[in-house]
């Protein structure tokens, strides 16, 4: 007997939770960088560097999320299983 029913497990959006968790883990420290550069940086150079960091972060984070969302673990498991069977 399962402790947690399967339909409840299936209804939990694990991918969404993971994305929110990763977003918080990345964007809170990223905010600290932007904040420190714009608040305490002297001259225009730190502000420009903060902008470069922000743009780069948005691009890389978007690529990461797109890559992760398109990735299907069950397909990978199937393919890996087939490969292992064929190599035996």
């Amino acid at each position: 007997m399962n402790i947690v029913p399967a339909d409840i497990l299936n209804s939990i959006p694990f991918f969404g939770i993971a994305i929110v968790f990763i977003s918080l883990v990345y964007w809170i420290p990223a905010f600290f960088i932007v904040y420190h550069l714009t608040r305490f940086g002297i001259g225009s150079r730190p502000k420009f560097i903060a902008l470069v960091f922000l743009v780069g972060s948005v691009i890389l984070f978007s690529l990461f999320i797109i890559g992760a969302s398109q990735f299907d673990l069950s397909v990978l498991a199937q393919q890996a299983g087939d490969y292992i069977k064929s190599s035996l």
Binding site: I33, I42, S44, G56, G67, A68
Partner: protein
């Protein structure tokens, strides 16, 4: 657009700057100190490419390419953050000489910052240290300012051209002494 002017027109103003003082010199560590760290980061950035070229030799890797791509993007995301953390710490370590004081502001982490200041009137002795062949060749080193009394030394660390900075500091000190006899801050007495 006026708000974009922050990227081009911001001058060397800083938090706590008094209305009657102006910045003479703004110093960061020498570019070479940052360049060494950036070179290390450049090498780290090559790791996924090297690993990828090695993994291509394995026939089964074709199934894991999608997974590898996700891990690589995550790796570069962390790498990007770490790179700019180093640049941020470099940019926030500053030494400022104004026409009234010297300010030493060092960032040791996001929530660990030391700021010390010294009136130009209290400067007693200024010395420079250039250590090692690279520092000699690239002209960077330390500038130590000894103050009156038992106060600890002010140390400008790995700054470019410490000898020229020393001359500039002594010139500012002499001008300050000439304008402020007996070390009294005349601007504050005037209520500025």
């Amino acid at each position: 657009m006026k708000f974009l002017s922050v990227f081009t027109e911001t001058h060397n103003t800083f938090e706590g700057q008094r209305p009657y003082e102006h910045t003479i010199v703004l110093l960061h560590r020498h570019w070479f100190v940052l360049a060494i760290k950036l070179a290390g980061y450049l090498l780290i950035a090559l790791i996924p490419i090297v690993v990828y070229s090695g993994l291509l030799n394995f026939a089964g890797f074709v199934y894991f390419q999608g997974l590898y791509l996700v891990f690589t993007t995550g790796f570069y995301l962390i790498w990007w953050y770490s790179l700019f953390y180093v640049i941020t710490m470099y940019l926030l370590d500053t030494w400022i000489i104004t026409n009234h004081r010297v300010i030493d502001s060092e960032q040791h982490g996001f929530f660990n910052r030391t700021v010390a200041e010294l009136s130009l009137a209290k400067i007693q002795d200024v010395s420079t240290r250039i250590e090692g062949p690279l520092a000699t060749w690239l002209k960077f080193g330390y500038l130590d300012v000894q103050t009156a009394g038992t106060s600890p030394k002010f140390s400008f660390k790995q700054i470019p051209n410490p000898l020229a900075v020393k001359d500039e500091l002594m010139r500012a000190h002499n001008e300050y002494i000439a304008e402020h006899p007996e070390g009294i801050e005349i601007h504050e007495e005037q209520g500025l």
